[in-house]
Amino acid sequence: MSVRPSSALREKADALALLLSSGQSSTIAINALFEELGITNEQIADTALHGSVATGHIGIYKPEEVDGEIVYSRDVSRKARWTYFADIPVIPAKGTRKRVVLLGESVARGFLLDPGFTPAQVLGTLLNGNADKDEFEVIDLAETNLGMAGLKERYREALALEPDMVLFLAGNNWRDDLVNMILTDKTYLSRVKDALVVNQDISSARTILEELFSKLVGSFLEYVRTVGGPELPVIFAIPEFNLLDCRSTPGERFISRLPDNGIAGWIAARDQAELALKEQDAQRGIAEANRMIALDPSHPYGYELLADAHLLLQEYDKARVYLETARDTALFCRTNSKPRMFNITRQTILREAATHKIGVVDIPEVFSRHLNGRIPGKDLFLDYCHFTAEGIQVAMQAVADKVLALSGNKASGKVPAASIRPDQEVHAMAHLFAAIHNAHWGQQYGILYHHCVKALQYSKEIARTMIYYCDMMNRSASNNLCKTLEILVTGNTRLDRYVHALLHPRSGKTMEIDLVNAMVAALQTAGVNLNKYVDDLRNKEHGVAGQAVNLLETFYHATSYDEYQGTKAAFYQARDAQSVFFLVAAKDEPVFFDISLRVPGLQEEGKIRVLLNGVQVSEVAVSGKWTRHSLTVPADICTNGINTVTISWPVPEQLVAAEQRTTADEAILDAAFYVFGEIVTFTATSNTATHFELN
């Protein structure tokens, strides 16, 4: 029962509430009132953690006795997660073959090639084709999206399978575990916050983050040995990242809130570095990229441009270092960055694995040898971290060699990895979904086109899928209601596993302009001309001729599905000095805009420039207050189809440190990244009847 607190305490509670809310109260008075109210810091037991009943499950598999033996079969009650696992209905009881249990996340699943071609299949074939004395079975328990906590759980469960060896191919999803660790420990959180926000010392913040990450990885290795017992052979295969052909996403390129005139300096250096590289001037590119890095070591783009400059000079080792550093800036959590293996994770495993008697296959090193020192890119990767068929072959060859050595077998070399190949359709679908996946995460046209062309090279049949996809993405209706999705789902059973990739976030659909254009161009190489169809559909669905279009809808400005992790406002926030919007218009038709905007914190009046297809069409006075403007774009600037509207925001000359807040975790990000401008309404139309003219 609850005991009703004394009504006399109400006065104390009133006083304490008032003091706490006033924000300028005495700690002594507050502490005294806390004491009088009996509020202490006594921790509450987390009852939610108790009561988990051991069911004997291993992921989606439940134990069953068949003919006196325990086998594990898929549990229908866990059907929702079946597609996260391999297409294996039953894990048999252990027999005479050496049992290798493969654990890991989507890389270990062979994401995009699975189920037609997986690391486990390749490894099994290699082991049994090349071992001189033992027979092997590889139990594929890899699971898409698995983080460190889940991996530990799966490992513990998998011991019931009596493995002769456990193989981990994992680590790409561990940033989330790091973030959880920091958010659940106020000491860690305040260290990171102090470095990142209070002191604005990015180097020191990185050191703290890496120190914590290393601690986390070390604890995982220790767990593996402790739980598995002293004798269980364990191999950890360290994943690699698509360094060359996976670059930072739009969300990862948000500009930091740099003190003084740092932002202006950084933007100027970026513009100069881009120009220098366009002109193939590597030295100037290096100088400008270094300026960017000096101003903001947390931003990936400076390192990427620096790497590009070194690539121009064919200095691959230097380029690799900078691309790795660019990749690792995801530690700063600008956005929900895609999975990756961080250097600190790799180094920790390399350093500490032996202590825990864990064997290591260092795939970055394996790939480097395979490429004769060149940097891995789209040859070995389908996207940021998932291997191509060749990537799987190379990685699994190295793993097989290690397994054979650890188990006392000699490798005969009879069956080379390169001889184990997926069929053409599997290749084609993998490249198609690679194109889609890369597009969803903001990769550039070139890489999308590469995968579209590859897909068509492997299978002409994929053209039908591309046509339907182009139709679907140009509809304003959500994909889940589109006729073309129904056709795609029913027309190709191989889509099953990846059908989620055909669905966009709710209310977050984009036109995927680069991907659709890449598909249209690739289809053209296969003799299919979809240009007119796509143009007409875009116009019908999104054109400003007959309707007022809200340019703040994601269709008209988002180029990826990555999402800002800080506070989301009720309006559009520009986190770069230029905001680009897409407008579907007609040649020789004027366009009318209605826009309400402001530049937060701007003390005096400033100007924004509005450009259509790169041509300035207006200059608008702005301030720190919301102002509303009607603009007209002359007919002769518009082109048929997609036009770009660019808002060029004022760049701050001097910035003071961001206001500090003591509590909200998302406030760390809000304080760390600068907002150039905000738009609350932005509509466009060519139809005077739907245009609202301001008085």
Binding site: M1, S2, L20, G23
Partner: protein, 584 residues
Amino acid sequence: MSLNIIGISAFYHDSACCILQDGVLKAAVQEERFSRKKNDPDLPKAAFNYCLKEAGITISDIDCIAYYEDPVKKLSRQLWSGSRFITADSIRNTDHAAVERQIREQFGYDGPVRFYEHHLSHAASSYYYSGYDHAAILTVDGVGEWATTTYGIGKGAKLELFEEVSFPDSLGLLYSTITSYLGFSVNSGEYKVMGLAPYGKPLYVDKIRQLIRNGEAGQYELNMEYFDFLKGEKMYSEALPALFGLAPRKKETAILPVHEDIAVSLQVVLEEVLIEKARYLHEKTGAENLCMAGGVALNCVANGKILKSSPFKQLFVQPAAGDAGCALGAAALAHADLSGEGMTSQLEHVYLGPSYGSAEIKKLLSATSLRYTQHKDDEELVKQVAQRLAEGKVIGWFHGRMEFGPRSLGARSILADPRGADMRDRINAMVKKREAFRPFAPAVLESATGEHFDIDHPSPFMLETCQVISSFDLPAITHVDGSARVQTVGEKTNPRFAALLKAFADLTGCPILLNTSFNVRDEPIVCNPEEALICFVTTDIDCLILEDFIIDNENNDTSILEMINQNLLERPSFELNPNVYTFI
């Protein structure tokens, strides 16, 4: 220049936003309808944007934002309550200016923000929209800041609360406690208890009376021996099962007669207390009119009894009587403060949400595989729909601006012929996917109400129950005790819905339809045409009317769309703690 006031309720459950323009309610909507998170508590950003758009203004045109609660007083009650989930550090680390800061930052607003107490907002949400210029006011809910029940009076533009019952004594929490004990979720399962009550016998009235002691004037007191909600973990103590001699019902297990008996016993005691307090309020105010709001005012069975058993002549219950409606109250209070005037007219309807045009819907439908027909002639459309209803079909009805509040009133409704014996079971099982005992309500043509229902005044918001006196057998909408929660439909406020009822009457002689909310269990009511389509393809609805368009299930193979939308679509979720009324 207009006086533009935004009203907000947020950060507990059912957040909502509304806009008053020169005292006229232009728009109001709950955030859950946009976010699709049932009971979404977050700052209503999408609802805010919608309100601005509907009023044709931008942020800089807002004169004031009115917030429905006093965060300082609420904090005081939280500190006093002694919840196990409060520690000194957790309180210290809380940003106590967060409400105003978030409003300013996330709405981009730098004008005045006014804070009004929770029950004052409830009271205003009823009185200022009632159309009365003199009324007594009764608000009853779980808890606001401190108050759980208040008594007040409204006269002209002036509203005053003169007495309150303070936390932890609360009729709302009493009801939620029994709700939890009966195996339903706190804060959302209370309707189910009300629906269960008529099946039972009041065998436990004496035991329920042991839970609450009546007090002087407007006061009453809970016997805390039976309650445990102050600790913040669960609603009832071990003494409650001991009192009833029955273990708490586990969720999703069989509902036994004893559960029905307890539900009706609770209902009886609730009505006793409310009637007595209403009589007291009448004595104090002398008013003929009574205004009610707060979650307990959604107990339409009790409302009817109050009106019958107290001296009040007229009753107005705010249709969004729960916390969402507080947004309306806060805005009205700010309007009164800034203009010195009350509201200009009675709330005649709650069609205050978004609407969607035919061009937009046609574009959507043309992207799908669905076969449809368009009927630009309203008369023809309603004839076609009435015909289908008469054939026993279940209709998804999407027309005009979405309703504000928990009830579907003919804008986002599922409709059916109320005469069919199996219609209730079919809709509960195949369409709504919910418990079999849940009753449905009727919508009746206003002009024909008296012939079929024992009620002598309009009930446009489905907030009163009355006896069914119709010559028709109406099993789908008649509760086990012969009552129904009726909605009267007038031509003025929803002409197309009224025309449909008339067309159905022309065909069948029956001017009544079963009307239930257009959603499935645990999801918010549909807001836009896409959500209506998803609900249509994933349930057993026979026909969907999207404004001028008719989509018949029998003309379409929706199996693939059903598979996609049932299995592949991620549904946002938010669930209030189902075990306890959370105060933190």
